[in-house]
Symmetry: D3
Subunit: 195 residues, 6 copies
């Protein structure tokens, strides 16, 4: 069977893109060795592309005492799995494996985070992320108290909920455009890197 296209929507030619988009895409290509399809799939809408990655980086390229980069990726994988977002589960599963230096954790969280090798604190973090994802209208003060009891502060709680909410947007964009997952992601972080 022929592989499906990158997206149901147009993929512009790289040369036709505004300079900042082209530079960003070149940079990620140099760093990763390939262009993750999300960059190509959003490029036909430059302003949305810019906003999307600014938002993404503000939440994900951040390391705080209360919330490591690996934990941020756990949130992405857990909520994206529940939203049945193929690209997000597989691509961020790869990043999670690398950031957590753990080849098992992404598949565990994607299939059922409650049974994964995570701490009670991380379990509470994912419970809250899923609540924001599936029933945000019922979030209340008891959720804050529970998370604070696990050592998360107000800024962490904002981050957890915002990552869940932002990837809810991403999950929907991916599903509505049938965005294809790059083959490169499947194996990343599963085998030791060659020196």
């Amino acid at each position: 069977m022929n592989p499906k296209p990158i997206s149901r929507f147009p993929i512009p030619d790289l040369e036709s893109l505004p300079d900042d988009l082209r530079e960003r895409i070149k940079a990620v290509n140099e760093k990763s060795g390939f262009i993750p399809n999300i960059f190509l799939a959003l490029a036909h809408r430059p302003d949305e592309f810019r906003a999307f990655f600014t938002y993404h980086d503000a939440l994900m390229e951040k390391e705080s005492p209360g919330l490591s980069k690996a934990e941020r990726e756990m949130i992405v994988v857990a909520t994206s799995a529940r939203n049945q977002c193929q690209y997000c589960v597989i691509a961020h599963g790869a990043i999670l494996r690398i950031r957590a230096k753990n080849p098992y954790i992404a598949d565990q969280i994607a299939s059922n985070y409650r049974k994964a090798d995570i701490s009670p604190r991380q379990k509470a973090m994912l419970d809250y992320a899923l609540k924001v994802s599936r029933a945000a209208e019922t979030v209340d003060e008891a959720d804050f108290e529970n998370l604070e009891g696990h050592g998360f502060d107000e800024q962490d709680i904002w981050d957890i909920g915002s990552i869940s909410a932002f990837f809810g947007l991403s999950n929907r964009l991916v599903n509505m455009s049938s965005m294809r997952t790059n083959d490169e992601f499947y194996l990343m972080g599963r085998v030791p890197r060659e020196k």
Copy 2:
């Protein structure tokens, strides 16, 4: 009963904000006569504030042949109602009344868009927006065919789905922060403006 605070999270002092945020907030205050709370509630995170409003404006401050500004607001109201987002339903209900020049339409769509005074084309638009909001994992080619049968083109369909997805993010931020709705929105667009 005392009114609840603007947000469960910090509201920074306007003077402490980066210039571009303060300018944007001043501009909206001058135009509207008040500061919608969403601007204050996101200000403690300048990068997220910038990304949020860039994304918002790219989708909502646009008028295309296939999708009027009023129709864009219909999508916001219908999906936000289903997500039980008080701020979004009431604030964008106000904008919808103004843009549609119709004092009834927002309450109709918020309570049950299927029974609202809208065209079959608009009904199909909202059906799709709700599908992206509630079950994006099942979107498929039949949805595109149906929307194209109602005269929407590919760019319109991207917009409909993206507005639904973006406000899903907004709805979750509002609910997780218990963001308060400004009193000014409730009556906007319900009575003829005085000259």
Copy 3:
């Protein structure tokens, strides 16, 4: 677009109605200045009309120490919103604004009662009403204890649950008949009455 009809089902001529129905309809018209469509939509079934309004008045035209008329309307608005009943949300939203002398409360409760300017006692009342509406099979003694802890007595609890259950009937009749909301309700209770 032409306004939709009052109901998918027949609307009898006022003159053809049994005397008691015609008198009731005339009375409400004199009091309100218009005939709420629910009276017209049920009139083709006189016995059902009589039973409906007897039941309605027994639960709603009652003021008890534990449950004010405004609180009764809160229950109607909260449960009807969840059942997506346009007529009930808009018409009883109007009555709630008037009875609570509060132009904001109906829209707050319709969109998300958990975030509305209500007391913890009223929050518990609406939680119970929604439970009866959506999962009555799980009501148990713990619900009674919780409500009694908020000062509701047995008769109040009967009223809360019965209002929720009765308007569940009303919501379904409205939706199955696509009953139209009178234009007069939208603005009622939003602006100070002229003297």
Copy 4:
């Protein structure tokens, strides 16, 4: 184990009741040989009692060319089963067995009406009744067309939906009061009556 009480709410003494309630209860006792608990459980609220049984009789004590009394009971059993209403399933299951002269039909419909020995026309009737019960907000013109294709007219459709909606009220009253089912109902209509 001691049998549970008739209701979580007060059961008034028969002698203390208004005359019309006492007469109605005496009449049903004479006809059935026992007092179905619903009569006792609603008696503490005479106006609601009157409205309830007026509504009930208007919908259920009616035989029309399009909708037999047995079919009306099928609707009650199918919708009450889905609402998990013990009293309604068992009591109206008894009445259905008697009216349909079929000792199997009630248990079939209560457990899964789609697999019951009913006609395609009756299957369409129950599909619609369940739609009104569970998702009335989505009822639309296609439902009417489908039912009319099965030979139901507008008055039948009103009846089907109203019976579903009315017993939704009844189901919720029963569940919120933990109303006990009379022992007499369980065997009724299962064995040939002795002469």
Copy 5:
């Protein structure tokens, strides 16, 4: 109306069956006086037939201090009702009536086990069985603690969950094959046996 067939799938001739299947079917026929349709409906797949009844008997033909045979049937009826499995509810309802020597209990549990004449311990047992049936992914240590607090030990808890899980398989086979319920089950255990 003609009765529906035993199954949507083939029913082999008894004489064509492997010896062990034919013997088992003859034995049950002698004991019960009829052949329950599940034996006929699975017979076209001898290995599956053997596995199914081995599994069934291991869980159901067992009497332990913590879990009586009647209680095991309660689990079957409660979970099968929620899965809308006609054959399982009616056939195992009959067995439950006989094993519990109680003509009312099966209908009570099938319609709403929370309102049935059962002990708090049995209520906890059924709550857990339903949780395994509907949301097994959320089972956690708190469930074990709760059941142990009611006097169930680890082996009982395995049994409760396994019965729920095994009949989930059975329920799906029955529904996918539209397996017909034998007429004999409906009345079993409802009337005293003749001597």
Copy 6:
């Protein structure tokens, strides 16, 4: 963090097992190079162990013209993912990769089978498997017609539904026992085997 135990329930010593169980476990160990935890987790119940694997092999160790072994594993992965069964998704994901000789297919199907690189025929197969898993009570003749239109015959349809139903049992056993996934499964079928 210490790895979690193989199961919340007892794991018997291999030497204490009945001969047939020990032989089966030894055989799988020799073939696979490790003992999949499901064999250990069920061993404390020999009859259930025997029935489980007899059923499993009857459905999965079969290759028919209409349903390949790889397609059978697709059904397991798709339904187990929806039931959030970690062990089943990861272990059968490995088997699927090997049988399909495709390192991508398991992760695609686990995250959202609708977007996987499968044929329309396989999509119809998985739609039906999920329907049996989530809403078997609604399976009807239209499902058979649809599958037959894709070239599946009656025996294939039995297999598809039975695999879905059987793994529903397996998924619930795994979740209720918090069965741990063997580390060996994660990488199987992702990289070419060394010669």
